[in-house]
Symmetry: C2
Subunit: 171 residues, 2 copies
């Protein structure tokens, strides 16, 4: 992309530089969801049509965008802006979990949905947050693990099948 | 494979032809699980170490093999040898669901785990079987749907994320 801009689209490169510089100056973290916004509170958090009793915790704003695309969720979000990663020196303090705990203690949030990734770091992050919230008596849940929609057992890895068996749902 | 056998491995072709002919003569469906076996009851169903109160319903023996590979399941199986597929003229009668109903009514099976695929046909098959079993008061469950193990939200389709949200698990 850099080569293309510098060689074939120098005006585009200048526009991109200006936009990025502008974003750096204007953008800040939303006081409620911690994702990027220009004001104190982002439009999503300010929307009174959304269910304020549900709070979905994601790693990054890109995950938040994926969940919004489903049109299956109408609660609020909290973006951690990362995940626990001891090897990179990112622990609970660097992840500012205290900020999340303050957010969920507003007396309005009734359920925290942990939607971190199902990677090792994402699972560890979800586990740690669930322990912290359980100690405060806040109801937590986790996105279900299992066979993806449209999936065939024959083409699914055995780790996923094992989880889908263990976490099978009563009908 | 056919070209290779006929051109470069004619003895292999003869062996394969004989093995297949032999299998056609010897193999039959197990009286209990409906998968292929040489005797009346297959080794798996005859194994007294397995939990006879659990019955896992799969579409094909290949699905059964996938679940065995996980080493996470120690119950018995029932292979439908197909799935409901109205467009192909396969309804409950062609699928011999009466045979399955007779199998689960042995007084030993306590839970039927529906492990058909998460395709449209597989879901319809699971739905129909669950209705039939509910009418007979037999406990049924379904493999969990959701984000696969190791999966990242950013690379997961929105149908799967929506299901994972709807079927989220309380912690």
């Amino acid at each position: 992309m850099a080569y293309h801009l510098l060689q074939r689209d120098q005006r585009g490169a200048a526009r991109l530089a200006q936009a990025l510089g502008n974003a750096l100056q204007v953008l800040r973290h939303c006081d409620l969801c911690n994702a990027f916004t220009e004001g104190e509170i982002c439009q999503r958090c300010a929307n009174t049509q959304r269910d304020r009793t549900l709070l979905c915790v994601v790693e990054m704003p890109a995950d938040l965008a994926m969940i919004e695309q489903t049109h299956a969720y109408n609660g609020l979000y909290y973006a951690l802006m990362g995940r626990l990663s001891p090897l990179d020196g990112i622990g609970p303090r660097e992840l500012r979990l205290d900020k999340l705990l303050a957010r969920v203690s507003d007396g309005v949030v009734e359920e925290v949905i942990l939607a971190t990734n199902f990677t090792n770091e994402g699972e560890a992050t979800a586990h740690m947050i669930s322990e912290l919230l359980a100690a405060r008596g806040i109801r937590t849940s986790r996105l279900s693990r299992g066979v993806p929609v449209g999936g065939e057992l024959e083409h699914t890895d055995s780790g996923t099948i094992a989880q889908a068996l263990i976490e099978r749902r009563a009908l």
